[in-house]
Structures are given as C-alpha cells and as structure tokens.
C-alpha cells in the first residue's frame, strides 16, 4: 500500500546522496590542494633563518658566529611575520641584528648579495640575500632592492619592504612609497615602517603628493601629518582642492594637524565640499585650529545629509558645550529633528544633562535649564534623561521626576516605575 511514497522519496534520496558524495570529494580535493601549497611555501620560508646564519658565517672576518648558534625560525614567528600581525616582529632579535650589521657591511659582500638578488633562480636564495642587504644599511643595498621591492612576486616584494624599512634613508623611503603604489596588500606594513623614519623623510614624501594615483597622494599626505607639516601649508592648501575626495580629506586632516591658524580659511572653504568625508575632516580640523571659534562656521552643518558630518559637528559642540548653548537652545526648540537630536546628544555626552538635572533637583535650575530639559525630553531621547535621573540620590530623583512630570507626565511615570523596579532589585540609590 502506498508504494508510490517510496517511488517519490528514493529518487530524491539517491540524488541527494550523489550530491553528498560530490561535495565530500570537492572538500577533500580543495583541502589537499590548499595543504600542498601551504606546506611547500612554509618549508621554504622556515629555512631562511638558519640559511642567513650560514651566509653570515661564510661571510667576512669580522663576523664570528658559532655554527651551533644558528637557530631555525619557529612556526609561530613565521605566522606572525607572514600575516603582518606583529608589527615589530622580525626574523632576528636585537643582538642578532647588531651582529649581522657587522657581518654584511663589506662592499664585496654587498655586491655578492646584490648579484644573488638579481640573478639567482632560487626564490629562497633571493629572499635570504634581500634580508642580508637590509642589515647592511648601505646605499648600494638600496640600489639592489629597488627592483625587488616592485616585484610581482609577493614574497620577494614583502621581504624587500622589510629590508628597506631597516635602511632608514630618504631614498629607501621613496622606494617604499613607490612600493605602496604597486602593492596595496603591503600598505599597512609600509606605512608602519615609514612611521619610524627620520623627519627629513618628509621631503621625499611631499614628492608623492603630486602622483597620478589619488590613493597614493592621500597616503603621502596622511603620512606627512605624522611629521611636521607646517612648512608645507601652501602645498596642502592646494591639495585641499584636489579632484579626489580622499586627497582633499587627507589634506584637511593634515592642515588640522599643523595647528596653524593660516590653514583656517582653506578649511572653512572645505566645509562647503560636496563629499561627506572631506566635510567631516574639515569640521574636526577647523576645531583643532580655531577651537571654540570654529563653532559659528561649522554649526550649520548640523543639518547635513551625512551622519558622519553631523557627528563631527556634535563632537565640536560637546567639546565646547558652554559656547554651544545658544545654538543648542535654538535647535532644540526648532523643527529640524536631526539638529534637535544631536544637540541633545551633545548635551548628554558633555555631562550637561546630569549637571542641569542636579541643579533642578537642588532647586537651583533657571529658566534656561528648564527649557533645555524640555527640549531634551521632547527630542525623544528620554533614555538619557532616565539614566541621568538614576544617577541622583533618592531625594534628587524625586525632585527630578517632579520637574520632568511638568513637561511629560507619562515619561515621569515611566521613569519612576523603572527606577523603583531597579531599586527593588538592587537596593536604594
């Protein structure tokens, strides 16, 4: 009876079984291929540390290293180096680095290493030579690394970057900046390396602010902000009008970092930019340059379409809450919902709501306090008020709830119930 059930279900079962078998096979093949590639690469890289020791030993007279001290790289160190996770993680520790500097200093040896980098068929040998060149710290080494750092082979490029990062000269900085352009995946590493370069590197970095690649221009500007950008104000002002919004945003930030009052006019101009990122950076930068005096310039952006810009304006208001109060009063009684909301947030973030509730609870609140409280409540952000009332003592809570009740009875009742429940659970305030 009802055999047709079986006729329906078994063919479905067979189809799913076939799919199961195929999926298992696909998983296994995928795993085998991935494992094979990974192990081969790992083995090659693991041998590098001991091989560099070997090269040092076979190198020059000044270098005396007992063979037994040549350690292998551990898997853990390799993972940290490979994945870029340890920003300071290197193949060799400080004493090893000092030792190798002596080993790889002679011109003949550098020339030999350069030849290996250029001509060797073995990728592993090339990487070892690149590492050694990095320790030499010589200008000749920079020449030898100019090609490899732009290599399409990601390992060769990566280790060349590390090596150039050791040779902290403007020229190596220039090569690293060029590598940034070629190898987006290594940009994090390069930028962290450049961070430790001497101040004169800024002269090299500024050249890249004219590059065709807008990403590179933006990176060069943001890097410049880490050095002293004051002497490049004029250049930065022209970059603030660049075609690329990322470049304009970076220029604004850099102008802010300069702290120079001269930058004010350019930043004010950027407040009218069509891009949200540029406007956001201009708002924050202007605050850095002019402090509370920036408020009249930035305040109208509270109605901007971008959350990010509005948030930046809110941050400026929060930082200068006393100076912002006239604007906040206007916004809170106005019809612009966003301005109302962010004004309320600024009041609460700055601690002003708690402060004014405290004053109201003690009977010291003036009409402005009451107007602001009413505005905060009517802006719909009563959660903040609720928590602020919760931070008062029992008498203060009662007085604050009474004051809130005059504005919104329903809310006052709600707060009272919530706080009573909390007191029942956790004891009196």
């Amino acid at each position: 009876m009802r055999d047709y059930y079986v006729d329906i279900v078994w063919p479905i079962n067979i189809a799913i079984l076939a799919a199961v078998i195929l999926t298992v096979a696909a998983i296994i093949i995928c795993l085998i291929l991935k494992d094979y590639i990974w192990h081969r690469r790992r083995q090659e890289l693991l041998d590098i540390k001991s091989n560099v020791y070997e090269m040092a030993i076979s190198g020059r007279k000044k270098c005396v290293i007992p063979k037994s001290s040549a350690p292998r790289l551990t898997s853990r160190q390799l993972i940290d180096i490979e994945t870029n996770r340890g920003r300071d993680m290197v193949f060799f520790n400080d004493s090893e680095q000092e030792m190798f500097k002596k080993c790889f200093i002679t011109p003949e040896y550098i020339a030999a290493l350069s030849r290996t980098v250029k001509n060797s068929w073995s990728k592993r040998r090339r990487i070892e030579a690149i590492i050694c060149l990095g320790y030499s710290g010589s200008d000749k080494a920079v020449d030898a690394l100019a090609g490899p750092v732009l290599s399409r082979d990601t390992d060769i490029a990566y280790f060349s970057i590390i090596a150039l990062g050791r040779i902290k000269t403007p020229r190596s900085a220039g090569l690293l900046l060029r590598a940034m352009k070629n190898s987006p995946a290594n940009r994090l590493k390069i930028s962290s390396l450049l961070d430790g370069f001497p101040p004169e590197t800024a002269d090299e970095i500024i050249k890249f602010t004219d590059d065709k690649d807008p990403d590179l221009r933006a990176l060069a500007i943001t890097l410049l902000a880490r050095f002293n950008p004051v002497k490049y104000i004029k250049k930065l002002e022209s970059l603030a009008e660049d075609k690329s919004p990322e470049v304009r945003a970076a220029a604004c930030e850099c102008l802010g970092a300069s702290g120079s009052a001269q930058a004010g006019a350019t930043l004010v101009e950027r407040l009218k930019d069509g891009n949200w990122l540029v406007k956001t950076r201009a708002v924050l930068a202007l605050e850095k340059v002019e402090g509370a005096a920036a408020l009249p310039e930035v305040i109208n952006l509270i109605s901007d379409a971008s959350w990010s810009v509005v948030d930046a304006v809110k941050d400026v208001m929060t930082s200068h809450i006393k100076e912002s109060l006239p604007y906040i009063e206007k916004f809170i009684s106005g019809k612009d919902e966003i301005a109302k909301k962010y004004s309320a947030i600024a009041l609460e973030n700055s601690g002003y709501v708690t402060e004014l509730l405290g004053r109201i609870a003690e009977g010291r609140g003036d009409s402005r306090d009451l107007r602001l409280l009413e505005g905060v409540i009517k802006s719909g952000l009563h959660f903040g008020v609720e928590a602020a009332v919760g931070s008062l003592d029992s008498a203060g809570r009662a007085a604050a709830v009474k004051a809130i009740g005059k504005i919104d009875r329903k809310l006052a009742g709600h707060i009272k119930r919530r706080l009573s429940a909390l007191e029942r659970r956790e004891g009196p305030a």
Partner: protein, 474 residues
C-alpha cells in the same frame, strides 16, 4: 481506515514538502554564502588596512568586555586584547559582580587605581560601584558593578563610559586574533554611513594551548560534543549568515564578537534589560528601528574571517543548558517582534529570515520529531510500509548531511583554519549527526520552548571546564 490513511497520507506529503523546501532554502543560502564568502575572502587577502592606521581615516573603537566570574579566561582574553594590532582603541572591562578572582586578575595585570569620572548615563545599567583606570595600560578602564542587570546591564555600563563611536562587544572567554579588529573595521571604513553592525566567524578554543593571551597551539578538540559545535558554528556563521548578510537580513550579530555603531545603539536606548540574551534581540530591534525611522540603506554585515576563539560547553548537560537558553531567547525575540513577519517595510529580513526563524529555529524541532513519529506510527499501524519509514528517515539524514557539507565546502574554500584531519573528522560527524547529536539539540530546544512558555528569564551560565592545560600562571 480510508479516512485515517488519507490523514497519514496528507501529513506525509506536508512533511515531505517541508523538508524539501528547507533543503532548497539551504542550498540557496549555501550558494549565496559561497559567493559572498569567496568575495570577502579575496577582499581580505588583498585588503589595504593602511587607512585605518592614519588619522584621516582612522576609526577608533571601544571594546566592551562584560565579565561575570571569568577567572578561567580573564587573563588570556585581556592579554589578547592588549596585543591587538589596531591603531586606536580603548578597553572597558565591566566586572559584573564577580565573586571569584576575576577582579584580582584584572588588578594584577592592569595595576588599577580608582578614578573620579563624570559618568554620563545614557543607558540603564544598574548600580556601578566604582570605576578604575589602569596605570600600566592607559587605554583600559575597569567598571565594578553590582550583579543583577544581566549581561545587557554590564554592556550598557560599558557603553556609558565608551569614548568612541564604534563599540566592539565581546565575551570575556573569547580570545581574539591580533588582526581581528582591523579586518572587521576595514570593512566598516568602506561605508561607515551605512554599516551599523558587523560580526564575523569565530570557533571554539576548548583544548587549545593558550599562553599569555597567545594561542600557542590549536589543538582542535576531538571530543564529539566540541567538534559538533565547531561544525554548527560553521553552519551558522558561514552556511547561513553570509547569505543573509548579502541581503541585509542578518538575524543576529553574535554576542561573542560584534561591532556596533554607537549612535545607532544610542538612538535605540542601548541593550535591553528585558530579554534574557542581548545579541539576537538587539539585531532584531536594529532592523525594526531602521525600518520605522526610514533609515534606508543601513547594513548589518557578516564576515567570514576567523576573528577569535571562544569557549563552548564541554559535556552534554552544559550543552543542553546553553542551547535551551538560546532557544528560549530566540522564541522570546520572535514573539516580541512577530509583527515583522512578511511585512514589506522590513525587506528581505521579513521574507527571508523571519520565516526561517519561525519554521526552522522555533518550530523545526517539533516538525522533525512529529515527522518521524508520524511515519513510525503509520508503519506500526500498517498504513505505511517499513521501506517508507526507512526512505523518509534516509531523506532527513541525507538532507542534514548535505546542508552541513555545503557549509564546510564554503568554509574550506575561503580559509585554512582547521587541519585536514579535523575536517575529515567533521565530515564523518556530519554523516552520523542524525543518529544522536541532533536529538540532544532537539531535547535542548524542547526544554527551551518549555522554559519560554513558563516565562523563565534567568541567564543560566553553564558549568565551565577547569583549564588544567592552561599555561597562564594564575
């Protein structure tokens, strides 16, 4: 007899259609998840993290770690956080009424001193006893608060202190990978105006060797209870959520690791103290809030990167306790937000996720049990033949195995987290899951449903395993 046979026949057809629809749904999710996962994995491999390191594009993050009796993991998870590869972040540990050594461990590592702070309370958090700053790590704050306001209260206490506009909420037993935050925030940096919440995959840390917050050896546990949970995490994070994320229909950003935009939390009033578990409810509320406030274009995103490792239950009793709670909060949330079901203004969430949550997560366990019971009953009463019973049982088993395998395939394509031996072990477990593990989870789900019906609200913390193998000096 004919009427009875027709009833059995109708029920059989309904069950069959249910399982086939579920299979088609899973295959769809797996395919979309596979595309999404491959895309994200590629983006991750060529990711440019530089902007996050520079001031113009930097997005500072506040990391909130609620901790209640976490002496086993506190030191390692904190040390992992302190060594995060991220340009600017602050850590707020909320010691939520711990009665064990959690605070003394924090004090030992951080050298804490009490500070007077003007704490602006935007979110209800309960009673905060005191606030302390670290002498050795200026970016770390510890809040000591009275227990009683659940994890949501502890997170809200952290939110009240949070400086930055993005908050990463995680569990105190989660060991983050050093590059976890930068990988996640690189995605946020691409579209900060739209991304309001983001989560990523994490696995189980049980049996790992952890030293000073660093995972020294990934000994993936062969204890089937742990291995099945690893499989479930893959199924859930990679198999389903990646696809939901593509359609902005994510039902939950996991509490173990999730990043939220603070202004969005602010507008919603932070985490709700009225629910047992905070993560799923918050995600539902975020969808609800965004739709009601016409915040079109907002995104809640899931990434496939392995961001860290967390502890999972190590035995059946603990597992049932945890899963019963998960089931209870799923139903609590579904019930509270039932009006979102198939409501056009909620978009894909209402049509893609909500029906799945209802028919699979909430009612699925009963459908499965009822199906088998019906077919078995039909066979015992002679209406259905034994081979029908076997065919139906095989269908359920194969569908279960196939959907799991699709998730594993998507996972191994994108990354190399587990060793081959372990993946093979998981494939084997997949094939036998239907014979036992499935029913353990079913028992937990039934218990969770009963707890919901009896309005249970407690947060049952399952019994933790003692870390005899831990290398961290205690």
């Amino acid at each position: 007899m004919t009427v009875y046979a027709n009833i059995v026949h109708t029920v059989f057809v309904i069950m069959l259609v249910y399982f086939l629809i579920l299979a088609v749904y899973y295959i769809f999710l797996a395919l979309i998840g596979s595309i999404e996962g491959a895309g994200k994995a590629f983006e991750g491999s060529v990711a440019d993290y530089t902007p996050l390191y520079f001031s113009a594009f930097k997005i500072p993050v506040t990391i909130i770690v609620p901790a209640h009796n976490e002496e086993e993991w506190m030191e390692d998870s904190l040390k992992a956080l302190l060594s995060l590869n991220y340009p600017e972040f602050e850590i707020i540990v909320v010691n939520d009424g711990s009665t064990d050594r959690t605070f003394s461990i924090l004090d030992k590592i951080l050298r804490l001193k009490p500070v007077d702070t003007v704490q602006v309370k935007h979110y209800l958090d309960g009673v905060v006893n005191d606030t302390m700053k670290s002498v050795s790590h200026p970016n770390v704050t510890v809040i000591n608060k009275k227990a009683g306001a659940k994890k949501a209260g502890a997170v809200n206490a952290g939110l009240n202190m949070a400086k930055y506009n993005y908050v990463c909420v995680m569990d105190a037993d989660t060991i983050l990978e050093r590059d976890s935050l930068i990988k996640v925030m690189a995605h946020v940096a691409r579209d900060p105006d739209r991304i309001i919440g983001i989560g990523s995959y994490f696995g189980l840390v049980n049996d790992f060797r952890v030293k000073e917050g660093v995972i020294v050896e990934r000994n993936f546990s062969y204890n089937p209870i742990i291995a099945y949970q690893n499989l479930e995490y893959i199924r859930s994070f990679i198999g389903n959520r990646l696809a939901w994320s593509r359609y902005n229909a994510m039902p939950t950003v996991a509490g173990g690791f999730g990043v939220w935009r603070k202004d969005f939390l602010y507008e919603q009033g932070g985490y709700s103290l009225d629910f047992t578990c905070e993560d799923i409810e918050l995600t539902f509320r975020a969808h609800d809030y965004a739709a009601k406030n016409r915040k079109k274009g907002y995104r809640i995103v899931m990434l496939p990167y392995c961001v860290g490792w967390t502890e999972g239950p190590h035995n059946i009793a603990s597992l049932i306790s945890q899963r019963a709670r998960w089931q209870r909060v799923t139903i609590e949330t579904m019930w509270a937000y039932r009006y979102m079901m198939c409501e056009p203004k909620y978009g894909a969430f209402a049509f893609l996720t909500m029906p799945y949550m209802l028919f699979y997560e909430v009612l699925g366990v009963f459908m499965e049990m009822a199906s088998l019971a019906f077919v078995a009953f039909g066979w015992l009463t002679g209406v259905l033949q034994f081979n029908v019973f076997i065919a139906f049982f095989a269908l359920m088993l194969l569908l279960q195995a196939f959907t799991s395998l699709l998730s594993i395939l998507t996972f191994v394509q994108g990354q190399r987290v587990f060793r081959m031996k372990y993946i093979v072990y998981m494939i084997f477990l997949t094939l036998i899951e239907f014979f036992w593990y499935r029913w353990i989870i079913s028992i937990a789900k039934v218990r969770g449903t009963i707890d919901f019906l009896f309005r249970k609200k407690t947060f049952d913390q399952y019994a933790r395993a003692k870390r005899a193998w831990a290398e961290t000096p205690q």
